[in-house]
């Protein structure tokens, strides 16, 4: 078998692709059942995601934080950790970055931009490492602690932007960050603009890929994730790597929040976190915890979301995309099912 063919036959790539195709087919059937034309709907969806310059920019801006939260959750999974707390880590990272950004009026951009990124990552890393430490030291399961830390982060942020760090005007939002701390707009079309954040996200993809595949840290984290007993036997500290993996995961989530501050809102808004942390779980699942897969999965989700408004205008409820997303997750999570189908097919071929 040629190398290329082998690459495409790889279950890791082919089973999410099959899941995506099946989910679009099922959603099409649903549309037919409710008397809508799926061709029109999908046309509109595609147009809304890629059809115009504005659409494409909107799509990329939506994808930017999703890539990062996807990486955050995916990295956790590689260490055997289920980080449900990307949202909390994102909020803390964004909040700290905003505070620092608001104090840097006199700083040149080459100082303030890197400083923002570092502070945003540190904030997220701290929040993630806290859950990691609770697990390593006390055996508290990260699913529970990260959920709890999410609430704590949300309430801290609400308090801060309604009190000590509130912009004048009575709305729950912080003051703006300094101009030097904002990403430059690469392209501006009407009311939408493309910030440089996407490059940070893509750089993060490369860095995470290198960490996982090429470094000692990646080796240790993966060993702990796959088999903690064997890791321990090999002299790898489980506690250290659990804390480290949660910190790296949190840093990526914090960076996602920082992207929203530096490229979209220029301040901390009460609703900044949204559901991006949880979307990260979906994206990591679809992307099979592979950094490059995650980048594609983030674009898939951002595309169907960006296109859904256009679909609504074309007369098909935008909630269809939730069905699509749900079925993809179901099929990817139940990927044994898809694999079984594939094996059947191969067997059928053999027996003929």
């Amino acid at each position: 078998m040629s190398k290329l063919k082998k690459f495409y036959m790889n279950d890791k790539i082919i089973s999410p692709l099959i899941a995506i195709v099946i989910s679009f087919i099922i959603a099409a059937i649903v549309m037919i059942l409710i008397g809508k034309n799926p061709a029109t709907a999908y046309g509109a969806l595609f147009y809304g995601a890629f059809g115009t310059e504005g659409a494409l920019i909107n799509n990329i801006m939506k994808a930017t934080p999703l890539i990062l939260t996807g990486l955050a959750v995916g990295f956790g999974f590689r260490a055997g950790l289920f980080n449900i707390g990307a949202n909390g880590q994102l909020i803390i990272g964004a909040l700290l970055a905003t505070y620092v950004g608001s104090q840097m009026q006199t700083f040149p951009f080459y100082l303030s931009i890197p400083l923002m990124l570092v502070v945003g990552m540190l904030g997220g890393a701290l929040w993630g490492a806290l859950a990691g430490w609770l697990k390593a030291a006390r055996g508290a399961h990260e699913v529970i602690t990260t959920i709890m830390l999410n609430y704590i982060a949300v309430f801290i942020a609400n308090y801060v932007v309604n009190g000590p760090f509130q912009a004048p005007g009575g709305v729950p939002k912080s003051p703006e960050i300094a101009y030097s701390a904002r990403f430059p707009n690469l392209v501006t079309t009407g009311a939408t603009w493309l910030s440089a954040g996407i490059f940070v996200a893509l750089a993060a993809v490369v860095v995470v890929y290198i960490i996982i595949e090429k470094t000692k840290t990646g080796y240790e984290v993966k060993a702990v994730g796959f088999n903690p007993y064997a890791a321990e036997y090999g002299g790898i500290s489980i506690s250290k790597n659990v804390v480290l993996a949660m910190a790296i995961s949190g840093a990526l989530a914090g960076l996602a929040g920082t992207m929203q501050v530096m490229g979209v809102y220029y301040r901390y808004l009460g609703s900044l976190g949204g559901s991006m942390g949880f979307d990260g779980i979906t994206i990591a699942l679809i992307g099979q915890n592979d950094p490059i897969g995650i980048a594609f999965a983030a674009f898939l989700i951002s595309s169907i979301r960006a296109g859904s408004n256009q679909m609504q205008i074309a007369g098909v409820s935008k909630n269809i995309v939730i069905i699509i997303q749900g079925i993809i997750i179901f099929l990817v999570a139940a990927n044994r099912l898809v694999k079984t189908l594939m094996v059947w097919k191969r067997k059928g071929v053999e027996e003929i």
């Binding site: 090429k214 470094t215 080796y219 796959f226 007993y229 036997y233 090999g234 500290s237």
Partner: protein
């Protein structure tokens, strides 16, 4: 179709004819024939993956053949599932017991077919039936004992009673002695003989040839899915059976020269270690190992050996006592420190401890040494160097298939063990803890591993060998320690003792008591 009347299988309890079973990529049973006479004990022997268990699973209806026929007492019978098998009076005792630990013997035996008085469970009836069965066949067990309180040998008797209670005339036993002490094995053989005397037919799956010789009437040998020999036990010998199993001559007992014992390398002093539930598992153990010798620890599984090994290698906390290695007190040092000081470890559970099965082989070859300057420049792995190192090891240790990119999970047990041994030896340790090195491996692989361990010893490495297999302990060790309930029962030299004596120690008799009894009797 040929004439059915031509085949008269009425003297056979079981005939399996031209059985073919395909699994994806393997022909597990390739036109296998099996003839088992009524009232005999018939062994099926073969290496792992020879297709023995596959064949028996088809007889018991756990899986179905692609083609072939099964005759029970001369009548063609279709066995689609275990219910059909039970209806045909076939019973199977699995290698892993299928008992509910918290229930009593009676409750376990009747489970699923409880006798009743109206709506109530007639435990007295059940108890009486079980007593009758156990007396009839010499299967002594207290009907009201709770399963988890019983020793393994008694649990196995419960399994056999369970099968008999369901009316079995044909009993299949899958590797029944794997978990038993020598004495329990002898008791089991007595039970098998008594079952045979009362007309039951027994099929014994095993790879222990001396057991075949001890208890069976005839043998079917399998290799790579095919039958390679059918013999009467009295007309054969272990050497011939081994040749049929492996396809070449095999050394059943590895030859070794006298040990050249050097300086003391490991000293254990009054070691106390807890198991996971916090109960004491190792209770004041002291011994030492010198360079160039193999010290074997014999014992029934679960008598503190695993905890002892973990404490010595730094994987488990030492409660009190000392581990002194190369004159340094390393008690409760990290596993990493142990490795750095030159202690290698071949763990008892290769899947749980020894390998990251989701890693490719070349990653597994550096487990424990991944931050060695040879493989890592501080933060980045030297992947090319790691691969080159792995290529060499794969060649040297003949790992099959010889691919370094294959995942650990996709190797056979023997090859997984080769990877672990290759890794531990490549690190050039001065001392090696070897735990259950051949568990579940076939004769060919065992021979290789035994030779490797001896060659390590001859290079002057101190070896601590822990094994549940007495044969292995006897053929490799220069000194034997026997462990029972966390204590050492005695130390003997293999040439000055017998399996009986070691077996007695394994069940809790102290060596000095045994020896003093002997002198009294004389």
């Amino acid at each position: 179709m040929d004439n059915k009347n031509k085949k008269d299988y009425s003297q056979y309890a079981v005939v399996m004819e031209q059985i073919v079973k395909k699994f994806p990529g393997v022909l597990a049973n390739d036109h296998v024939d099996l003839f088992v006479k009524r009232g005999e004990i018939h062994a099926i022997v073969g290496e792992n993956g020879a297709g023995k268990t596959t064949l028996m699973s088809q007889l018991y209806g756990l899986i179905n053949p692609n083609s072939g026929k099964i005759y029970i007492n001369g009548v063609e019978t279709r066995i689609k599932n275990p219910n059909d098998a039970i209806a045909a009076k076939i019973g199977m005792v699995h290698q892993h017991f299928m008992l509910v630990d918290r229930l009593s013997v009676v409750e376990n035996v009747v489970l699923g077919m409880e006798p009743s008085h109206g709506p109530f469970f007639a435990i007295d009836v059940a108890r009486k039936q079980i007593r009758e069965l156990s007396e009839k066949f010499g299967l002594y067990v207290d009907p009201d004992a709770i399963i988890e309180d019983l020793p393994v040998g008694a649990q196995q008797r419960v399994e056999i009673i369970k099968v008999l209670y369901r009316g079995a005339e044909i009993l299949i036993l899958d590797e029944p002695t794997a978990v038993l002490t020598p004495q329990e094995t002898d008791e089991l053989f007595d039970v098998l003989r008594s079952l045979k005397a009362q007309g039951k037919t027994i099929i014994l799956i095993t790879h222990k040839l001396h057991e075949v010789m001890a208890v069976t009437d005839s043998v079917t040998v399998m290799r790579l899915g095919k039958v390679t020999g059918v013999v009467k036990t009295k007309d054969t010998n272990p050497k011939e059976l081994a040749r049929m199993m492996v396809g070449r001559d095999v050394l059943l007992r590895v030859e070794k020269d006298k040990a050249k014992v050097g300086d003391k390398i490991l000293e254990i002093e009054k070691l106390e270690v807890n198991e996971n539930r916090g109960l004491r598992a190792v209770n004041g153990v002291s011994f030492s190992v010198h360079k160039g010798e193999i010290v074997g620890i014999a014992g029934v599984a679960g008598n503190g050996q695993s905890e002892l090994v973990e404490a010595i290698t730094g994987l488990r906390k030492v409660e009190s006592g000392k581990v002194i290695f190369k004159d340094v007190d390393i008690t409760n040092f990290s596993p990493k420190k142990h490795r750095e000081m030159g202690m290698g470890h071949i763990p008892e559970d290769r899947l749980k401890r020894g390998l990251v099965t989701a890693f490719p082989i070349y990653y597994n070859f550096i487990l424990g040494k991944h931050d060695d300057p040879k493989f890592c420049d501080g933060s980045f792995l030297k992947i090319q160097d790691i691969k080159k190192f792995s290529e060499e090891l794969v060649k040297e240790f003949d790992v099959r298939p010889p691919l370094i990119n294959i995942l650990g999970a996709n190797l056979s047990g023997g090859n997984q063990q080769k990877v672990i041994i290759a890794r531990e030896i490549a690190f050039e340790p001065d001392f090696l803890v070897v735990s259950q090195p051949t568990r579940g491996l076939d004769i060919g692989a065992i021979e290789f591993i035994h030779k490797t361990i001896i060659s390590m010893r001859d290079k002057g490495i101190g070896v601590l060998l822990i094994s549940m297999e007495l044969e292995e302990i006897f053929s490799l060790s220069d000194r034997i320690l026997v462990m029972y309930e966390g204590k050492i029962m005695g130390e003997v030299r293999p040439e000055e003792t017998s399996t009986e004596e070691v077996g007695m120690m394994m069940t809790g008799h102290r060596l000095e008591d045994l020896r003093s009894q002997e002198t009294q009797e004389v």
